[in-house]
Amino acid sequence: MNLDQCIAILQQISAAGDPSMAPVANYTLDMVRQVQSGHMDPSESAELLRDVVRQVEILENVSDLRMQEMLHTAITGLIAIASAVY
């Protein structure tokens, strides 16, 4: 996969507008632009790339918790509905 393909995927994620993933995609696109402009040295670019991996790791772990919280909301709602029926 080349850089253009990577950028295309990031633009797709950005356009999809997921509230968690789109900001990370935009951030990565910003980073690529800055690296291409030559304002950063290689060690800075490498550190920022590591940060993107960490961002995704955080999102993965946070998403699991969000699913648990959604489950909690759904069950609470079901109880409320069932209570109203009886």
């Binding site: 980073m31 955080i58 918790l65 029926v85």
Partner: protein, 137 residues
């Protein structure tokens, strides 16, 4: 048929509190100290982003930020059933540590690097904050 419907609804009613108990056992509850800690990290990262033109000030904020992310990681460690939260806290601490490492190096980090680093930490902290804020009370 109607009796069967009532019976199934009654069984659901009996089962739901059990599901809620199990679910609430599996999910950490909202913790105001944890929420305050991640809010401070987000706030500090936002401040740091605006200080990138003055490297001394940004360096001080970066060090303070790393101290807070380390504290947050330590705080997360002993919260029961918080495996995912702890992994997120460790990743956040690594981000802050990487920023400080660059400020401790021989070369002053570039303004662009400074802004992107602080912005990334701010965004990650906001994602964690959202999750913690929505935990069941």
């Amino acid at each position: 048929m109607n009796h069967l419907k009532h019976l199934s609804l009654f069984l659901v009613l009996l089962l739901l509190p059990g599901c809620t108990l199990l679910e609430s056992y599996l999910t950490p509850k909202f913790d105001s100290n944890e929420y305050a800690a991640i809010t401070e990290i987000r706030h500090l990262a936002g401040e740091g982003k605006s200080q990138c033109a003055t490297s001394d000030q940004a360096k001080l904020t970066a060090r303070k930020l790393e101290s807070r992310t380390r504290y947050y990681q330590l705080y997360s460690e002993q919260i029961p059933r918080n495996y995912n939260g702890l992994k997120a806290a460790a990743a956040l601490d690594s981000m802050a540590a990487g920023l400080v490492a660059h400020y401790n190096g021989n070369k002053i980090p570039s303004t662009e690097f400074c802004k992107l680093k602080f912005e990334g930490i701010e965004m990650a902290a906001a994602n964690i904050q959202h999750t913690i804020g929505n935990r069941p009370r």
